[in-house]
């Protein structure tokens, strides 16, 4: 494992501090999931159980937790037309092993593919099937991290 990869897998002290502070706030709420994105980084906290008797324990040592730096990339429309999802229908959370067609934009009777441009994980699908889209409209967000 390279030094860089090791650094990416284990939290730095500052990151651990931030996560801990967020976790303490999170347990005070009844949120199921909290995700914070900032400058290409993402911290996501989630509950595994809703049982009222289970009191979440916040570990002191966060080195056991893996961190995942999210590099979100927007896939945008490069023309004006009607957005259609391809088959199999891509969904949030889908893992993309390589470049694949996610959708197409129909314009002037021509089918214009929208591709993932590489591997990643679908963070969000921003448009619905049959929706008109303008130039530059965000269609998908892909996690390249």
């Amino acid at each position: 494992m390279s030094e860089q990869h090791a650094a990416e897998q284990h939290p730095t002290p500052m990151l651990a501090q931030r996560v801990r502070a967020l976790a303490e706030l999170f347990v005070e709420t009844d949120l199921l999931r909290l995700r914070i994105e900032r400058e290409g980084e993402e911290i996501e906290l989630g509950r595994r159980t809703l049982h009222p008797d289970v009191v979440p324990q916040i570990p002191h040592d966060l080195t056991a937790f893996e961190t995942h730096a999210v590099r979100a990339e927007a896939i945008r429309a490069d023309l004006v037309g009607i957005f259609h999802l391809s088959r199999p229908v891509p969904s949030e959370g889908d893992l993309l092993e390589s470049d694949r067609e996610l959708a197409f934009i129909e314009a002037l009777g021509i089918r214009n593919p929208v591709r993932s441009r590489g591997p990643g994980r679908i963070l969000s699908v921003k448009r619905v099937d049959g929706e008109p889209v303008e130039y530059g409209a965000v269609l998908f967000e892909i996690d390249r991290g």
Partner: protein, 445 residues
Amino acid sequence: MLIANRGEIALRINRACQELGVRTVAIFSQADRESLHVRLADEAFCVGPGPVARSYLNIPNIISTALITGCDAIHPGYGFLAENARFAQICADHGLTFIGPRPDVIAAMGDKATAKRVMREAGVATTPGTDILESVDDALHAADQIGYPVLLKATAGGGGKGMRAVESASDMERAFAGATAEAEASFKDGRVYMEKLILDPRHIEVQVLGDEFGNVVHLGERDCSVQKPSHQKLIEESPAPHLSDQARSVLLEMAVRACRHVRYNNAGTLEFLVSGDDVYFMEMNTRIQVEHPVTEMVYSVDLVKEQIRIAAGEPLGYAQQDLQLRGHAIECRINAEDPYNNFAPQAGTLSRVVFPGGPGVRVDTHVFSGAVVPPYYDSMIAKVVAFGASREAAIARMERALRETVVEGVSTTIGCCLEILATTPFREGRYDIGFLPRMLASGVH
């Protein structure tokens, strides 16, 4: 109606449509996202990034927008695709009404060498000149026939591009090379033709309207002789001052005759060079013009609404004798330019904008305090139009209006326009297209 333009003319078209109860769709580039025409249209679609070729000239994205929004028609405004016959045909092919003349008329009149031939066939006097010149030798031979000085002009051109004045045979080779290269770079068509260079003429144009039923009317003339050294207009007025009844009669009669000859439909403008009582056809613009407000003010006609009505198949509904000219109107173009530095275009944020008002003052603009002037487009940011019962009243009103006008953040032509209005040649109405270049060259300002 899809409005295939930007800036003040897009807003102008939107206003006419709103008053006619026509839903509007605006297109915009990413640089124009916050623009006023985008905010006031019923719907708006981004068609590309800032550069014109990828946005306002992006025919596939424009047509696609019109189709997916259920538009019936496209108004091209002026510039961009307004005189593109191919675009007009593409609109027709997709069942969209193009607000303008038929594609064959645009094709015939848009090519300037062809337009002059068509005008000669109609018996309209044209500037002595030639068809397309194939070589420098052709140009030299033609110039000997016509007599120096001559002017080389791009057949696909406008805005002063691809033009070279030639004083003598020794200048011809260099001028020919320069004109063809500039024409190729500006219009992707390097063909040039030649005209007699008429020294310091007046530029006087005639507004026309024609319907699908062969009816043609004129709405008088406009004097557009106050032009920058690049031949772009800066101040226009109607009616033209000190134009003899004979010259006026010839101009208006020629304009109507030419339109009937080509079965012209919709709005258009025929431009002439006038020297004394000699009148020569220069070119025709098959679209609404920037300076159309001065005609609207003196004839009380909404030209954009007329364009839409005509395109919808309605007859004009009035004859020439029903159109009465009243008063005098002047327009000053407020450009984001430095007039004392060769009118260098300015881009930036307009930190403060205040436009004038009061009786007889009209302002067509798309800018407001905080608006950004992008670097990609023409530098005009507003037109201030003043109407008065007489020319003197219109000048006084325009001076008052310009003094009230505040545009901070970029240099503008406001001060230059005030200077022009104060000069004796302008106040006496005795100026030609060389007037402004001479004024600037004299350094007196």
